[in-house]
Symmetry: D2
Subunit: 312 residues, 4 copies
């Protein structure tokens, strides 16, 4: 088994960077464009707190779908498992992350799970706070606390773009209003909160810290404070394994074998039980929405460091 | 944490047996009828070979869908991962296990994964042997070897019933012929092999041994022989976690948290990494096809024995 | 063949009224409630201008889905066939009238046809006018002109209810924005216009006049003015035949055999080529959305008066 | 309005033949190949018995989907409307003619209508006869009687090809067995009968006679014998209008406006109420399965001869 080191990290990035050529950078998110097509940044933080990093680990891009993990953690802590999973299921789906058809078919019109768009909007209605402002402040404070990375901040420009290009998500929210999953006010507010959390800038270091927080059962890795109950973190990790990588989740469960969540900005967070958190930034994504080079990094790390939970 | 013992097992069965009342015994499989409605048998075999058992662990019912795990193990060993996953995907689906719609929609018309009916039929075309007889002999011999339970045997009556009630599976097989996933001869033979493997009688002890074989990375737990390569067993376990419990797979990943596969005869096999194999017989199933009391047993074992892999 | 007379009309209403018991009055539209459960009003106006009427022909309820016919007539007249059918198809669908799934699947995400909700919203974006007010004024004036029934007027209370209960339609509109069928402004305005036209009160007399206008190839039956070009009226009638009666359109094409359009308020407009316009009010509807007694009236009229176009 | 004459027919064929270049000849049906790519034959028989013809009206190709009309006529005559429409619906569908998904979703798993593959197979189970041979003999005799064209005969080579390439239809048949629409024996026999009727060779003259038979309310145009009851013929024509041209049926209802049925061999039969039967052979078909040049012929005939039933 390979030993973790910055040299090893450099080697991984070098071996995987060519895969960036197989993807495309999404073109409608401010801050992302072709100039980042070959970017690849990887950071690992071990359970003991050692940090290893290589590549463009100084980039920051918006959270996008990784927001779903944060929102779910908050909703579980605020309302508990029972309430959350009355609004949303915990089953993987074979439809696309922004599918609306499955809301039309599925029992009680609940979203299949909290890691698809409809599910994340439904979950966003279950974050405490007197206003959307207050709810968002709680979320970004939480994220800043567990990452202690000052580059983690709200990106107004991305937020405006989320609103502007948000017709599909509005359609999902109103559909859920029509079936009684959300009230009208809940729909409007959940949508706004969702757009905002999607618009938080994140780095590979901060993602690795998030991964580490999950591996660490919801305790702040620096202070040891239990910020989210361990049983909620366990729930989130299980859903990440079955549904975290869009329509490639099953493949990643086989090939990589630990909880992951990706976003269309090409970011990925990974949580390896008992071992480490992993943060990846790699904006060239494939048609399923996952970073191509990032996926390759994960396969290589899993293989060389024996990280697959189905190994033992 | 609870300590494993036969007394503890008795306690679990006692606590969970009332849940049998929430399910129904399937009525078209020979050997299964209402007289078995309250049956519940549970056997655990630890990695060290200790056996714990309680309830109706002397019953034997046909494998039904658990056959899919055996067929996949054989196909991977015979043809390798690449060939198998050209014919079948590894993604979870939200459609029913016998769905045909998803063959109409999904890329290349491949079945989503090997643990739904279409996927198992496709996989059954990838088991070596000069004839269906020979292919079946290899499968049942393998199963008898790893379970060394003489009650594991072919049930002709169930097989005849599988053929008679097999129109949906024939429909799936011919659909795959029509899209080029299978040739005509492959379709006919795969179907026959699939019916036969479904018709093998199994016990909770044999299921626990199968679970133990998976936990033991494909080595015979008695002789230590490597019968299936470890990397194939890893693949099978990952797919069991995302897709082993029909449309409740995601929920079981959260609530129980280790690889499982259920059958409509109410049987379940479980493989707890580094710990144990679990075999359950509980014929009263819910509408999703899973043993109600068996599911309750799994939740209780996972909880009391800390078996959930997302725990650590 | 039966001869048309008021006595015959009374007989038809008497024979069909008992069928009202098989339906339910929709409960969320102002003006409609259980007190109207047994209402049944039928008016026929022949090509020569003779009027025959029976039952509760003095009731007025909101247009609901019959609005789709009016909007389509205006859009065709304003923008022509080519432009209209770039935004919306002319194919019948087996999905429900408020389905959103079909927008996800169908080529170019166009609504299947202008007589389902998504299609009517798309079509509403193609009515000329400097503002929604102006566009609505043109539509209601047109309707008042061809019906010369002073009871045809805007119902503010229904409109407020349409907005309040309009989440599904908003969801459809935003979905179409997301796929480029409508711009954001078009979506908002089309939705508002659609709600307004749905909220126009109509009577069986006015519906019969509308039917007569269609039979009369777009000429005002009183003044003879050509208000809509004949070829557009022909298009509308063909689509009414294949898609005018929700998911029973095919059955009505067989059983009744002339162009129809129904609304969930239990109203139906019919246009019998060369013969007559028919207006029906019968608020007890079945699960498909069609007036049960109204449907029976149509079958009886078609049969007794030999109105089925496939007869000859 | 244009006057019918052979010269006019020649003109139509000349104007429409270039459209053959926009289609493709299907490549797996014996007798059809690229050498027929520019073929276009049109025959019209008026209600009075006048015959007009132009183009390659001497070609004969297999019936393919037009068989569905013949089978439906026979089933209605043999079992009556009630029995037939318990097995199959009368609603248009937006799915493809060989779709299996809709059997999974639709109420009672009935095929949507008798003019899609599943519906035709179900209908084929409702043709009287002691054996498939006898049932087929009745059908081909009927067709030979109403067409009195000796080129109408069974094509063994096409039949063998139907069986060989028939996996999708077998899949549909077994699916219907699995849902109880057909018994096992019914499924096997219906499938065989369906393959056989698909394999009958037909000419544009024979198709025109079939159209004329439909226009003539089920009376043999030569002898005047009522072979099929008029009310059954009316039913068939209505379903042809809503569902006869695959997923372009709605468009043809608008553009052409009379009952039609097409087959993938590029044939079309048309029945113009009170006027004429039309037979077209034009093997270059579009992606929806309809003859491109044949469709153009229909639009031109409808326009020039004022055949659209929504005209009046």
């Amino acid at each position: 088994m390979e030993k973790l080191s910055n040299a090893f990290m450099e080697e991984v990035v070098k071996a995987c960077r060519p895969y960036t050529a197989q993807g495309e950078v999404i073109d409608h998110i401010p801050g992302l464009d072709q100039s980042h097509a070959t970017d690849l940044g990887v950071t690992i933080i071990t359970q003991k707190g050692e940090v290893y990093s290589a590549g463009e680990d100084d980039c920051s891009f918006s959270l996008q779908s990784i927001s779903k993990v944060i929102i779910l953690l908050m909703a579980l802590e605020d309302f508990g498992k029972e309430v959350v999973f009355q609004k949303v299921g915990m089953e993987p789906t074979d439809d696309f992350f922004n599918s609306i058809s499955n809301l039309e078919d599925y029992e009680g019109h609940r979203p299949f799970n909290p890691l698809i768009n409809s599910g994340a909007i439904a979950t966003a209605s279950l974050v405490n706070g007197a206003s959307v402002d207050e709810r968002f402040d709680r979320i970004i404070s939480f994220l800043q606390t567990i990452t202690s990375d000052e580059r983690v901040k709200f990106n107004e420009e991305v937020y405006q773009s989320e609103i502007k290009n948000g017709a599909r998500n509005r359609s999902l929210a109103y559909f859920m209003e029509s079936t009684g999953v959300l009230s009208n006010q809940e729909a409007e507010e959940a949508l706004d909160l969702y757009y905002r959390v999607n618009s938080i800038d994140i780095t590979s270091l901060a993602l690795a810290k998030l991964g580490c927080f999950l591996t660490n059962h919801g305790r702040n890795i620096e202070t040891g404070d239990q910020l989210i109950q361990a049983r909620h973190v366990r729930t989130v990790k299980a859903i990440m394994l079955t549904s975290g990588m869009y329509n490639e989740s099953g493949t990643y469960a086989v090939e990589v074998g630990f909880p992951l969540k990706s976003g269309v900005s090409g970011s990925i967070v990974g949580a390896v039980p008992g071992r480490m958190g992993i943060g990846i930034i790699g904006p060239s994504i494939n048609k399923k929405g996952n970073s191509v080079a990032g996926g390759q990094v994960l396969r290589m790390l899993s293989d060389k460091l024996k990280l697959n939970i189905f190994h033992d």
